[in-house]
């Protein structure tokens, strides 16, 4: 079996390919969002699982108490958007790595983008339209 051939980086087909810095920005975004998420996500997990008895104390009234404060609304909204964009971008990388057929790659990414957009919009709507007097 012969060794696999790897196209030289400066070959014509590559140079003619569309130039864009998207992958650079995406690489940078993973790192910047990662640093912010350390505080938001680890803080969130600590508060929810370790403070005042952890998950045992969580119910509707607890959520109502928290989202009465704009501070926690902004915290949760920022965390939702950053984690979803970071996670979706990470999943995009993984699909690009493993899905070999163009068709498969395209459709997997379409499913990813549509479901991620749905979750981001749903979460945003819930934070903004929360009604403590419901029910």
């Amino acid at each position: 079996m012969s060794a696999p051939s790897i196209e030289t980086p400066r070959s014509l087909s590559r140079r003619n390919a569309q130039r864009s810095n998207f992958e650079l920005y995406s690489w940078l975004f993973m790192r910047i969002s990662g640093i912010v998420l350390v505080f938001l996500v680890l803080g969130h997990l600590f508060i929810m699982n370790f403070l005042d008895g952890g998950v045992q104390r969580i119910n509707f009234a607890f959520v109502a108490g928290r989202w009465a404060s704009p501070f926690w609304q902004v915290w949760d909204l920022t965390m939702l958007w950053l984690a979803m964009l970071h996670g979706t971008n990470g999943m995009r990388t993984i699909i690009n790595d493993y899905a070999e057929r163009d068709q498969t790659r395209f459709w997997l990414k379409m499913i990813l983008y549509v479901s991620s957009a749905f979750i981001i919009l749903l979460g945003t709507l819930v934070i903004f339209t929360f009604d403590p007097n419901l029910g």
Partner: protein, 132 residues
């Protein structure tokens, strides 16, 4: 001969490969959990009862165990993510990357051993009547 099948990976074992594998697995796992978590929290828009019923399942021993797994996965991903960032941006990062790997393993254990005990305390009491 045309090679259309994957011809192997650049990684040949070692801590660097395993932290990468774990980073990928924990990233995917946490991402899927986040989907479910936004959906369960969205129940606060349905009714207080619906939300409380679903949250009650989070307080059962089996789900408590899964929560420990989630916290462990997020903590590893966060610590290793910071290591990756340090390797990329800190001039001495590549030189110390192996020490940093053992550092995050130590931090992970120091947080997770008491953390797991604390998170499972309520379940242990419910199952056995008391905690050791």
């Amino acid at each position: 001969m045309a090679t259309t099948t994957p011809v192997g990976t650049l990684y040949r074992g070692g801590e660097g490969m395993w932290t990468w594998v774990l980073h990928r697995i924990t990233g995917v796992g946490v991402f899927f959990f986040l989907f479910v978590h936004v959906l369960d929290t969205a129940l606060v828009r349905v009714s207080p009862e619906a939300y409380d019923i679903v949250i009650a399942t989070y307080k059962t021993p089996i789900v408590a165990l899964l929560e420990v797994g989630l916290v462990g996965a997020v903590l590893f991903h966060a610590l290793n993510g910071l290591r990756v960032i340090a390797v990329d941006f800190w001039s001495k990062g590549p030189r110390f990357q192996r020490q940093m790997t053992w550092g995050i393993a130590a931090v992970w254990l120091v947080v997770m051993i008491p953390g797991a005990y604390y998170m499972l305390m309520h379940s242990i009491e419910a199952l056995f009547g008391s905690t050791p």
